[in-house]
Symmetry: C2
Subunit: 315 residues, 2 copies
Amino acid sequence: MKALVTGGAGFIGTHLVRELLNRGLEVVCVDNFTLGHQENVDCFADNPNYKFYKLNIEETENFCEALKDEKIDIVYHLAANSDIQKGGRMPSVDFNDTFMTTYSTLELMRRNGIKNLFFASTSAIYGDKQELLTETIGDLRPISYYGGAKYASEGFISSYTFMNDLNTVVFRFPNVIGPNLTHGVIYDFVRKLQNNSHELEILGDGHQTKPYLYVLDLVDAIVKFTLDMEMKPGVEIYNAGVETATSVTTIADIVCEVLGYENVKYNYTGGKGGWKGDVPKFQYDLTKIHNAGWTAHHTSDESVRETVKYIKDNN
Amino acid sequence: MKALVTGGAGFIGTHLVRELLNRGLEVVCVDNFTLGHQENVDCFADNPNYKFYKLNIEETENFCEALKDEKIDIVYHLAANSDIQKGGRMPSVDFNDTFMTTYSTLELMRRNGIKNLFFASTSAIYGDKQELLTETIGDLRPISYYGGAKYASEGFISSYTFMNDLNTVVFRFPNVIGPNLTHGVIYDFVRKLQNNSHELEILGDGHQTKPYLYVLDLVDAIVKFTLDMEMKPGVEIYNAGVETATSVTTIADIVCEVLGYENVKYNYTGGKGGWKGDVPKFQYDLTKIHNAGWTAHHTSDESVRETVKYIKDNN
């Protein structure tokens, strides 16, 4: 069985590629190293089941041409600009890296008759909703270009799935953290504290509170719902998350504790969101994915702690 | 006040351009004549308030460059592939003509600080839902490439509206008919009967039942919600429709009656939908738009009858 992982040299992609290879699949990995890193995938280079293509997936014709002779059974489409804040400064980033990569992936599948798709969607498609986020709530209004591009991707995926009889599983990811993380609040705090261990600037009021899912828990869920369970015709959407959540101030506390910084003065920039397009709080209804047989092992706080420990031990 | 109408030489666009000019606005009209026609807009050519650009809107950089010195106050974005059946055969049609035109329009607005947007969305974003369609129902699964591309457009519009403080009104159109119609079931029936007045092939089982809105009623609503009423920050979405609906068999009956064909034998191809991606039945909840002060003048059957009469008198 041969899997294509788009964004396979990225933070989540690397962990997924490793697990797929561990399970004996052939893996075709595509990345352009915008957020992914060559070093992330060097470890797979000697595996005969592993093949790498450096490609800009958003260039639809080139991408489809390069992969036209690979006999792919399932596509894990993870390629995206995962840095929402960066996308806010330049919407073409999410247009190209988050949306166009999806269109190219769907065209590859249509042209080559590939039937199985896993798509990495996001909590950001819900926009700034105050209620508990169930998969079926309506009136969704994404507020970031990233959220808009993922929402758009879900729309195209829905129509391609129906028109081409695909079996599609969509996970809406929350914040995902763990080894190899490339950006985000934890990463920022560590970097800032390494520069100045007396004061820490915190974007917003510190009350932004989100569930942080540990990347290995997520990969466990992905393979369970695409390999262990039979994929079925149509689009099946799950909130993939963890029931607990962590505030930004708590993240700062954990970072300081694990790195051994004491009496750090927190300077809040103020406001509810960290930046324009930031959704300050959300909570998933996880009934559907729990009932389907998967629950995260790590709590949100444990995920933060593990991630900070990893950064401490590897920098 | 200057308005940009994308797809302004198309079926709905032409009627809107006329109404905006009647109201004394300057109108910049853009079309590439894929579905629009030069003849539709020839009548405006001598109006000093009218300006036309022949452009492929999906070519973002060209489009933005061409219009960069126009000081536009409001954009009516109608440009799209409105022929769902055609898009089903080649998804790049809806990708380019329905989705990319939206992205280009949003980029033009962002780069030039244009704040007011009207967007022509569609019932097709709801997919094949059995329930009454309220604007806020969730779990939407568009099944046609056209529906997917409009759904994607709504996602980008939501994020651009938030990130750039736009005032946006979205109408989800049902089937819209009337003078200058270029395609669709009525047009097909007239053409088929002109070739053979004894038999009429009807796609599906004839029970497909949809609301048909008269184009002049729609234009009345568009100007009411964008010019007569103040546009406000954020995205306001309305189902724009008519409470009644007409079955495909009833359309055939009206076409035969108005054109004077008797004893026509109907041959049904069978199946619930006319083609893959066709939504056979839907009904809008119109409470929101009615409460806001607008109701269609023509019933669905009246709209069909007026349209057939127009085709009869003008062909």
